[in-house]
């Protein structure tokens, strides 16, 4: 965590100075999603439903990418995947 700034250094009125993409919520999770790529039909349901935006569609690679830096392990993706391609497993140390 960087040094906190003095009142002279920060913008007035609380205008925020950092984007939250710098705040990794991924360490919140207990369970993590594990994908079976063979079952995935690229329906993008998981991409639609992830509250964190941690499941990303990469059109250039034609792939879905799971960003563990933001995944909180809620399990919505596993619950909603129509082909059950995702399962939630305990995150290893």
């Amino acid at each position: 965590m960087s040094q906190e700034k003095s009142w002279k250094e920060i913008s007035i009125a609380g205008v925020c100075s950092k984007s939250s993409v710098g705040f990794m919520t991924g360490d919140w999770k207990t369970y993590m999603p594990v994908r079976d790529l063979e079952k995935c039909t690229l329906c993008l349901t998981c991409v639609m439903f992830c509250p964190e935006g941690a499941i990303k569609w990469r059109p250039d690679k034609g792939q879905i990418w799971f960003d563990m830096g933001f995944c909180k392990g809620c399990g919505i993706c596993a619950n909603e995947c129509p082909t059950k391609a995702i399962t939630m497993k305990m995150e290893k140390e």
Binding site: S20, P51, E52
Partner: protein, 322 residues
């Protein structure tokens, strides 16, 4: 509103950059957060968002971090609609003097059920009556979740909250859920609709329709809260779907007062055997657990009866509209 509906695929939406960014502090499995992330994908150009105090406002704006990739204003709890009024008036005035570069800026006011149905109702009604050009989106998680799951007027009957606990004498909230969309419909707005994130295509289409209105529009989004409802975080979307399938939260839209059911609810109207019992929706939610006891069975029965009655009334209203 344009008559041509906005066409999009999952890939189109998935390729759009997020405007409600990752790194927000919502609980795992948060329904409103999932809904909000999707809602922001339906914006069509320069947009300003103003928000009432509540879960979604707090999680995205913990100084110095912000999860908002567009201009965003929060002032207080009861005045999201008044904020929108001020922004709308300012843009109109400044545009007259050539001080606004953009040809059009959409204004979205976001609030939870507290900031809409209770403390926010006055400002909302006032802003709508004055005809300001904004879309008001209510993300309804059926309680004052951010302050610790207290009851709101939008909490359904029978739900246990921290201010309507399921006690030995009183089984949770006794009052009915305030029909906020009926109230907003009575304001003669061009567009009023209900939606829920499981049916995301329907939800996004409605957001876009609301934005296209030249004047006020209201969208009621049903967004399950696993923390407050005490259900599994992975089941958020499942409950979103069950609410529609059991007719606890029917989804529909009203254009200039003409109401019609949206496809998921219409399918049930056409095939009533597909309607799920309310019990199926309530099961697994900790806030309704106390209803599954012999002494509270009457509450469960009353809930089914009331849901059926309200559903029938809705069907009649939709029929008389067409």
């Amino acid at each position: 509103m344009t008559t041509q509906e906005w066409k999009f695929t999952a890939k189109d939406i998935a390729s759009k950059p997020d405007l409600f960014l990752s790194g927000h502090r919502a609980c795992a499995g948060c329904g409103p957060a999932a809904a909000l992330r999707l809602i922001m994908k339906a914006t069509r150009g320069p947009t300003i968002v103003t928000q009432a105090t509540g879960c979604m406002e707090i999680v995205g704006s913990v100084y110095p971090y912000t999860s908002w990739a567009l201009p965003w204003l929060h002032t207080a709890f009861e005045n999201a609609a008044a904020n929108a009024s001020g922004i709308d008036a300012a843009l109109k005035a400044m545009r007259k003097k050539g001080k606004v570069k953009q040809e059009h800026i959409d204004i979205i006011a976001l609030a939870g059920d507290g900031g809409t149905c209770d403390i926010g109702l006055q400002a909302l009604s006032g802003a709508v009556e004055r005809g300001h050009d904004f879309l008001f989106i209510l993300y309804d998680n059926e309680g004052y979740m951010n302050t610790g799951i207290q009851r709101s007027s939008s909490t359904p009957t029978g739900a246990a909250t921290t201010t309507t606990p399921a006690g030995s004498v009183i089984p949770g909230k006794l009052e009915k859920k305030k029909p906020i969309t009926e109230i907003m419909l009575a304001h003669d707005m061009e567009y009023v609709a209900t939606a829920t994130p499981y049916y995301w295509k329907d939800m996004l289409t409605k957001v876009r329709k609301g934005l296209e209105v030249n004047g006020p529009a209201f969208l009621h989004i049903f967004a399950p809260c696993p923390r407050g409802w005490r259900c599994e975080p992975g089941k958020t979307m499942e409950y979103s779907k069950l609410a529609v399938e059991s007719c606890v939260f029917p989804i529909w839209e009203a254009v200039n007062g003409k109401r019609q059911l949206s496809t998921p609810s219409k399918l049930i109207a056409l095939a009533p055997q597909k309607k799920k019992p309310v019990k199926d929706y309530l099961a697994g939610q900790g806030r309704f657990r106390h209803l599954f006891t012999p002494q509270n069975k009457h509450v469960l029965d009353e809930m089914q009866r009331f849901t059926d009655e309200r559903w029938e009334r809705l069907l009649q209203k939709c029929e008389s509209s067409s």
